[in-house]
Symmetry: D2
Subunit: 290 residues, 4 copies
Amino acid sequence: MVQLGANRYGKAEVRVLRVARGAAPGGGDVIRDWNVSTSLSGDLAATHLTGGNSGVLTTDTQKNTVYAFASRLGAAEPEVLGLELAAHFVRSQPQISRARVAVSEYGWDRLGDGGHSFARNGTLTRFARVVHDAALGPAVLAGLDGLTVLNSTDSEFWGFPKDEYTTLAETSDRILATEVSARWRYRAADIDWAAAYAGARQALLDAFSQTYSYSLQQTLFAMGSRVIEQVPAICEVRLSLPNKHHYLVDLAPAGLANDREVYYPGDRPYGLIEGTVLADDAPSAGPAWD
Amino acid sequence: MVQLGANRYGKAEVRVLRVARGAAPGGGDVIRDWNVSTSLSGDLAATHLTGGNSGVLTTDTQKNTVYAFASRLGAAEPEVLGLELAAHFVRSQPQISRARVAVSEYGWDRLGDGGHSFARNGTLTRFARVVHDAALGPAVLAGLDGLTVLNSTDSEFWGFPKDEYTTLAETSDRILATEVSARWRYRAADIDWAAAYAGARQALLDAFSQTYSYSLQQTLFAMGSRVIEQVPAICEVRLSLPNKHHYLVDLAPAGLANDREVYYPGDRPYGLIEGTVLADDAPSAGPAWD
Amino acid sequence: MVQLGANRYGKAEVRVLRVARGAAPGGGDVIRDWNVSTSLSGDLAATHLTGGNSGVLTTDTQKNTVYAFASRLGAAEPEVLGLELAAHFVRSQPQISRARVAVSEYGWDRLGDGGHSFARNGTLTRFARVVHDAALGPAVLAGLDGLTVLNSTDSEFWGFPKDEYTTLAETSDRILATEVSARWRYRAADIDWAAAYAGARQALLDAFSQTYSYSLQQTLFAMGSRVIEQVPAICEVRLSLPNKHHYLVDLAPAGLANDREVYYPGDRPYGLIEGTVLADDAPSAGPAWD
Amino acid sequence: MVQLGANRYGKAEVRVLRVARGAAPGGGDVIRDWNVSTSLSGDLAATHLTGGNSGVLTTDTQKNTVYAFASRLGAAEPEVLGLELAAHFVRSQPQISRARVAVSEYGWDRLGDGGHSFARNGTLTRFARVVHDAALGPAVLAGLDGLTVLNSTDSEFWGFPKDEYTTLAETSDRILATEVSARWRYRAADIDWAAAYAGARQALLDAFSQTYSYSLQQTLFAMGSRVIEQVPAICEVRLSLPNKHHYLVDLAPAGLANDREVYYPGDRPYGLIEGTVLADDAPSAGPAWD
């Protein structure tokens, strides 16, 4: 005999461009460019067991709700969009006990001086995510993806164990590069979201560039620590750092020296370093990461 | 003050083609095409806090170990590769308390009759994953990704709640399509892996094509149940099913009828249905999903 | 001063699923899964110079036209869809002198015995393209993409020039793998399209598996020649063959031999071999490749 | 009987990071991050017909040559790398009559004040390409990819022909967005490459933001014209502009107005506008675009 275990459903990747006409200083437009995903859990056994859908707020309705809230809330911070949407789903649907709303926000820079022209400003995307539990209320995560950084020196790697499969040479000067994916947890749900995001992003950059590194793990811990130290509203940071290897090219066959000048970036395989840094007084996460 | 939380590190996406010369019936070659990722946890505080790497078996060594075990094990089932590698890391490195090895296997069909020609046979990839814990021993997951299936009828969707944001019409005949991502957990570590995989894959296909569906959730539960019923070695199935929406085109402006004939597949957004089905007597998962 | 040069515009990637209800032997459904792109040229100076759009059949209308013709034509061969659409655009819009319609068709296999279940059958996509010129009439290309093939032996590579930058060793036994992208040109516009496609695809596979190869260029020429020999309706073949390198892993540091058993597939860089094979009596291509 | 037609071969996507130690003002490092592809043509019938490789400078050697020239040339402009490499292949290999070298350059911003930290600065990549013909000498193209821009107003679209398939409404205020892919041709091979690139890039941005648009074709022509007017060294511009449609969401069912505030960006299908703008006195292109 079988039974139903944990389950959830929702609408993924609802794309929204919210234009706030005339909201910029000087009268130009402000834009917010979002990719929103919603996911609901609760008393959903019927639809799994018999196809009875009386409790299934459709994913199409979830999509429409995203658009309507984007209309009502204006060019809000993505955390606010998430908080309002997640609370709405739990409060309006008694069978839903937990709602998750994730928002990726794409950044645009202003272009020219007409107030209505913009250029996408990079691969980095801002991230926000709210889990609203019917009993526990909301929990807020934020983060970023696609922040690619590189140090051309000040990185060593040695002192590691050698076994019969080890061929890697120790090095006292290597390139260290990674594409940062970060998630952090807030202590409360009424933060100055824009300032906290900007502070965390800057802390990640500062720690990466200022850490003389003996391992990517050490850099990871420095980055997470700096975020927590710089932004008191944040109590936990989770980082996923692929090691974007840059290998020194052997130019000796061509009669050329290569004193840390010509590298080839490798695609696969890559090291992957994942870790968590917590404030000593971090409260329990509850369902924040669910 | 900050502290280090959960962490892991390893080598991701080590690509291996293992050729077993003359191992096919009739003397042809057998090939296995793998993408292997390893990840280790344990007493790794030093590298995070000070960059002291005496406990860090390098990800480069992990890569070399994958190649060496692929050499020794021959054209083995991917679960066997995972079991041997994960056990090796834990047993040979006292500071490592848990090792994870994931293997994606790409499928190839034989081509012609020379015994050495092959063609990639689809987007589907087979998956296997072993978690070896120093105290608890190994746990084995398997699954598949990229299995895209479609029913052109025998799917209804109605009876769902309507609120002020609902615009979706009820339907008694829609297209149901999804790209199956499945993971299942085995009860033991000495299964006939090839037979279990084939049985689970066939059960997923059978349940999808034979279920008259009132919701994708119902289809999900039917698919998971069928796997557990057909393959007793499997005690838990987790499915992630994106609803690949096919919308009926409105041809009325062109004066044409469209009685379920012309659809356009949408890219984004998409419904995403995720759920777990368990055998009633499923043992505790332990760290299997870690 | 500046002038307008060559230009074109159209709708790219119109996705269509055409279901022919009950059209299969035994009464099941037949499906065609298409990705259609249209592109028009002609007297379009006004829209470029002043934004005057009286000659611009909108790309939205082009999209609607694709749907309408998919409705009318049923589960047709993709070349037929292309021929009818391209002729329509040129004939109905006097300012349009040339129309191009490209169709990629995704393949599905039948699943189960209910007549309405299907599974995507691979990464390979069939391709068809029609250029209809107002003065010259139609020209038809077809082809395929994503056909990944591998020979585990019967491939050598030696005798190449060495200069001061050469480090590659000669080899008398290497793995030869590629992902075939093929385009071929038909002599006429009223071929048995399904048979010609099947014949060309099989000829590519046969030539790849049966050619003892001294270079990927030699294999390319053999593949193109075989198509022309096997399918008289085809007069020209263009092939683009990335060399999917498989490098032998050096296992000597681990004390292991590696007699052509363990390889790692490289991602980048890759060799890229492109070439054309023509029938001696191939007629002029005209605008077929435009 | 069959014959060999046009053909070429080379190494695609050779990734190179060139670090010029201490070359920055103040003593920091300068980096250049390249993706280089080479392609050679000439008397290559033997390898196609018999596998005789005496004329085939291997793609592996081409790769090594890229690294060696990156070493010798330092942190050069990508056009210089292309010119030197293409000339080398033609001059050193008598059987090679034409060499093409394409370079994509990824941009990095400085990070912090240590002189050795960098962050990837966006999705935009700079492009340069040299074709060196043995008889005609070099021709130089440049361009960019991935420049995504958006105007939130000042775009209309109306006055287009209506036929039986037309459903699109005319609009006097729509969002206009595109991802610019541009290629331009230089009149000579000894330009100030960095200045010309910067000038062309700025001209594209200026024309996009300053053009009140009645069609994307009109914007395209304005962008190409501006480049030619602002950078006299450029005689031809080719633009490929996907129309990244933003559709106004219908919020009426939810009782909400939507006066150009909430849009959803569509993925597929998309309009694709392609066109060329030439200086009146543009010299013949010769093999520049080959």
